[in-house]
Amino acid sequence: MSEKDIESVERLDDAVLSARGVETGYGDLQVLYGVDVDVREDEIVVVFGPNGAGKSTLMKAIYRLLPLWDGSVTVTGDDISGVATDDLVEYGVSYVPQTDNVFPNLTVGENLDIGGASVADSEARRGELFDLFPRLEERVAQRAETLSGGERQMLAMARALMPDPDVLLIDEPSAGLAPQLIDRAFDHVERVRDAGTAVLMVEQNVTAALRVADRGYVLDMGENRFEGDADAMLDSDRVRELYMGQA
């Protein structure tokens, strides 16, 4: 079931986030040629594929950092195709970029304050996130630029979670982490989902990511190539061979 053709991406009607026929690029360079991705409530969905496939570009297009040349994006039923980036938090969707995802000149606490700027009881929310990331509480007065890679990634995630979004977009949460920290990162993703936030993540550590994910999409050359349940993808020889760097 995992080896579907581009033409037949399954459409899920109960999705909290739904990107359909997304086309975008940079200047004259088209990168995405009609990508479909759905995320349902309580799901972790992983997007993977070769370097340069357009995974980060898809995230940027969903988050309105790139113009949608064609296609649409809805979050909990609202069409966000015309919504400005800085209003998206209000629609219940947050985004952690692949790089430069914390404010280096602000302390850990201030990074969270920024994330919680529109949150009614941001102190309480901050406490909840410190329960999830105790390390951040210890570093609350430290400037973000002095954090280790793993701590920075936690802070980036915590900042995005401050508004308690319905969906979190996260681009390579395990990038640059030491092997023993990678599982910890996915552990966090799982706990985020368990706390009620659906997750759309881009990942290169495909096997580890699929173990916590419910479903996956393979993107290649700006198009959907495969999709399916995480277990089925882990079992699929073709997906393993083509996209997981192991036979």
């Binding site: 970029p97 920024i114 529109s118």
Partner: protein
Amino acid sequence: MADFVGVVQTLLYGLINGSVIAVGAVGLTLSYGVTRFINFAYGELLTLGAYTALLLVGMGLGLPVAAVVAVLVIGVGGVLVARVFYDPLSDRGALPLLITSIGVAFVLRNLVRAAAGTEARQLPVPLMRPWVVAGLRLNPVDAGVMIAAVVAMLSIHLLLQRTMLGKKMRATSGNEQLARVAGIDTDAVVRRTWLISSVAGAVAGVLLAVQFPPFRPTMGWDFLIVVFSATLLGGIGKPYGAMVGALVVGVAMSVGTRYVATEYTMAYAFAILVLVLLFKPEGIAGGEL
């Protein structure tokens, strides 16, 4: 040893000058930190602050009230200038903005000249006998100027560190795109930054006019060199750096004028500017608030 008091006196004057320079430098550096371009029309805000206060005094207001009203008027005026001239160019990069701001400076300077004439003017500052303590002289007016400058600086410090607007300004300065991703209306932050920057400029202008009468329509443009050297010495975009840089420049100008040669006050600031560019070029590369 005989001149010990003289040295301390010179340092004291330097610190008083430095505190005024600091207000000007912080205003310039804040706008740079958030918008990433050097506003060459900034000096004209100082001039406009002084002349607006003069105008209001002429209409019968007392100097303190005139000063406060002038600062508010120029604060709003600075936002309007930014909206009309800078906002439309904001995605074209720093160079077109910089050149535009030089043009804006030219126009504003000549408007002041046309309206107020080129002759030297002064604000009605009462002549007061200096206090003398242990041989050190301190003019009450200078003391007032320094207190006003310190209050301005403290306000900016509290704004940046304690208020949500300040945090948003620093976030926008650190990573503008991430700020938008995090839900910050960065356009609104930029507008407020122009307000704060313009208010600081106008405050510096009024203090300068009070401290060093008389003034002419070129006062702000001339003072820009001093503000630049303080700003770059501290690393442009860094408000606390600008404060320290301003004190160093103020003291250097005071010491140079007293012990080297009287007629080159501006030259000492310019020398610091050149030294920074030679030995600490990262000062102009910019940092975050």
